[in-house]
Symmetry: none
Subunit: 127 residues, 4 copies
Amino acid sequence: MDLDRETPIYLQIRDRVVEAIADGDLAEGDSLPSTRQLGADLGVNFHTVNKAYDLLRAQGLIRITRKSGAVVRRDARSGPAEPGYADEWQERLRTLLAEAVALGLDADEVTVRCAAVVESFRAKAAP
Amino acid sequence: MDLDRETPIYLQIRDRVVEAIADGDLAEGDSLPSTRQLGADLGVNFHTVNKAYDLLRAQGLIRITRKSGAVVRRDARSGPAEPGYADEWQERLRTLLAEAVALGLDADEVTVRCAAVVESFRAKAAP
Amino acid sequence: MDLDRETPIYLQIRDRVVEAIADGDLAEGDSLPSTRQLGADLGVNFHTVNKAYDLLRAQGLIRITRKSGAVVRRDARSGPAEPGYADEWQERLRTLLAEAVALGLDADEVTVRCAAVVESFRAKAAP
Amino acid sequence: MDLDRETPIYLQIRDRVVEAIADGDLAEGDSLPSTRQLGADLGVNFHTVNKAYDLLRAQGLIRITRKSGAVVRRDARSGPAEPGYADEWQERLRTLLAEAVALGLDADEVTVRCAAVVESFRAKAAP
DNA sequence: GTGGTCTAGACCACG
DNA sequence: GTGGTCTAGACCACA
């Protein structure tokens, strides 16, 4: 977690969890650390962790119970995405790719890098 | 331009300009509307447009002169990206793709959509 | 800070911070006053201070977080400059030195004064 | 003259003239092109050139008469600078050098580059 | 309590 | 007529 980055900490935490799920490091049913625990580990306020978990819950990636804390609710194998999500997501993808293209990244280079990222998820999640 | 969105207006404006450049709708040398003009068109304060333009200038995409206003300084054909940019960009790409994968978008589906977006840029910019 | 000067206030603020870093009065990790605080101290609007800090961030000299405000991110000891920066900078140096020479400052005098300034940075930063 | 630069055109014109004097390309008594002529050559309004000449006159580098137009009034050999000028100039020098140092240019490197610029003036002006 | 965003209006610099 | 600067005040996001 890079405390001196422009993206808010709670978003960074969410992003790391999301990537861990995509990587297969976190699978359906796995428990996340308690907010206080993770907050202590990262050196941030547990409210900040709370906010990140809240976001993940809102997206349906985890569920939060008083008893067992935060648990991964879905991963890459848990079934297809919600209808409509893909299109909304592609809008954001389009914005991100446009930036790279406009700034001079070759179209082929962009494709290659997309493929590389996807492969990194596939490779780690498959076995 | 969606004023009721969570992303700041000035970022939305920047994103639209970046996409227009990637699409080829804006090419090197083209003029952008004046800040006051675009502000009036969008129903936002010209300072907000100013901030968007300032960001675009900081990224090297446009140049701003008092005389001719904002002019596109580089497009997809203007030469390679800054060294190091691609890697920084890929970090953000990884985060975005991870979200899709975690939420159940098939890896192949992700690849296909990346390719589709890239092609849309290539198709419009090429001819 | 001279409010009745031709150089914009926000640039004067930036310059003072840059000089403080070069002098070693501000070192990596040091905090800058909050924008509202410094604004009040200087008798200027906090937006003006904000603009100065924004410039410093764009140059990589400080980082800004909502929590801890503005913090010095690099000083003279933080490693080499960006490639290409030195040449761009030398262009500006050439313009400034040319003025002194044209107005009758002896070439030796110019050299001596350059050395004196550099030494003042070295002396204060070294111990 | 770089029309798409952040520095105002009239300042760029002034800077080029100042450098030409420091370089010895323009010597005391030499004539500058008429404002309309130079404006046409550079593709800018002659009022803009006028403003540049006005600045040069204010600094005492040229004199302007209706009859002979703008003429170089002093160059590097025309005698010592005005008292007090050197100190005011050094303030600006300090700001510029501080930036380089803060951004990681080595103190020795700065000294070397200062010397290189001074030498370039000496070499061209001497013979 | 910190910075971020947005609005609003004034005046100036540039060309 | 263009952008640049500065002021001012409001509300929100973050920690």
